[in-house]
């Protein structure tokens, strides 16, 4: 080891030592008390109520109805599930929900039967896509190619990408700023209509445009 390397090694060792010295007090700090409240809320756009399970080592609580809420104190099991009133949910979480970005706009474009041409209805969606872009702060447009399950998984990723790239060109030719558009392919992994493998299904041969 030459002198310079030795110096580097010593510096690294010293900084490793000081790092562990820094992190030590954190380990010794007694755990601070914690209190978690979880509420299941109706979807802000369509009102749909989903489902969630709140758990820890001591137990679990199932949230399954609008504004159902549970409180977890320290390491105790989640408390009994009680629905919040609309007024309570609004006062606790109203401002928070108002800070959510707008929900993505989705457009689905389909192809003519056994063809690489988009249907006329699908091509006619292009102006609506361009208008949707204006609804978003710092917009992004993601064009996702999908296929049905005929052919291999790998060839379908390529095919999906080919379809998405074609739609991207359509959007850019219509005036969309190229830097806003990204293309990707989900191949046959994200079917609109679930089918077995090697199944021809025109509704799965599609390109999805997500504007967000």
């Amino acid at each position: 080891m030459n002198g310079r390397r030795l110096l580097v090694a010593l510096t690294v060792a010293a900084s490793a030592g000081s790092l562990s010295a820094c992190s030590q007090p954190r380990v010794r700090t007694p755990e601070r008390p914690h209190d978690t409240t979880v509420a299941l809320l109706p979807d802000p756009d369509d009102g749909v109520v989903g489902r969630a399970v709140v758990s820890n080592a001591s137990g679990a609580a199932d949230l399954a109805e609008a504004r159902a809420a549970t409180r977890v104190q320290e390491s105790r099991a989640p408390g009994a599930v009680k629905p919040l009133s609309e007024a309570e949910a609004q006062s606790l979480f109203g401002d928070l929900l108002a800070t959510l970005p707008p929900r993505s706009h989705h457009f689905t474009l389909f192809f003519e039967f056994q063809s690489d041409e988009l249907t006329a209805e699908s091509r006619a969606l292009v102006p609506a896509v361009l208008r949707a872009v204006m609804d978003f702060p710092f917009p992004e447009v993601v064009v996702i190619g999908h296929t049905d399950t005929t052919g291999t998984g790998a060839s379908n990723i390529d095919l999906g990408l080919k379809r998405a790239t074609m739609v991207r060109k359509l959007l850019v030719d219509a005036g969309l700023k190229p830097s806003l558009v990204e293309v990707t392919s989900h191949g046959e992994a994200d079917l609109l209509v679930p089918t077995a493998d090697d199944t021809f299904e025109p509704r799965n041969r599609r390109v999805e445009i997500s504007v967000r």
């Binding site: 978690t36 979880v38 969630a52 758990s55 949910a89 970005p101 929900r103």
Partner: protein, 152 residues
């Protein structure tokens, strides 16, 4: 004693070809984007505290932190939406959105404060891949909208 010219040229080509591949493998993929910021909000990335700006790209392992007057709204790449209220902190522990390869994961760690979550495609394609963690609870999500408050 100089190496033959072709060797030098070959080595140079190798460097040119290999470097971009290595760089893209090391660069983390974007996980989402900040869409709405008001008041004081910062992004903590690898021990650096950056002021948050609307339009800013977020990566896996980034932490969002809001001040007493801060609020922030984020859209992740799978259309998941998240907002933080004042005096809050949350870290994107895991974000993997590669449906074609069947790799999906979203783990949001809520350190303290107020957080709203509206599920996106990851929750739809693989509900078990989504977890919202707080210091004393884990929330498994079957969709769609949740609000959490974590006090210390």
């Amino acid at each position: 004693m100089f190496p033959p010219r072709s060797f030098v040229a070959g080595a140079l080509v190798l460097v040119l070809v290999v470097t971009p591949t290595v760089a893209s493998a090391a660069a983390p993929a974007a996980a989402g984007r900040i869409k709405i910021v008001s008041g004081s909000v910062s992004v903590v990335r690898a021990n650096a505290v950056l002021p948050a700006k609307a339009g800013q790209v977020l990566f896996e392992a980034d932490t969002l932190r809001t001040g007493a007057d801060g609020r922030v709204g984020v859209t992740l790449n799978d259309d998941t939406r998240v907002s933080l209220g004042p005096g809050s902190e949350a870290r994107l522990d895991q974000f993997l959105y590669a449906p074609a390869e069947g790799r999906l994961a979203l783990v949001l760690n809520i350190v303290h404060g107020l957080v709203a979550y509206v599920s996106g495609r990851i929750a739809k394609l693989s509900p078990d891949a989504v977890k919202l963690e707080t210091p004393n609870a884990i929330v498994g999500v079957r969709g769609t909208t949740l609000a959490l408050r974590v006090d210390e």
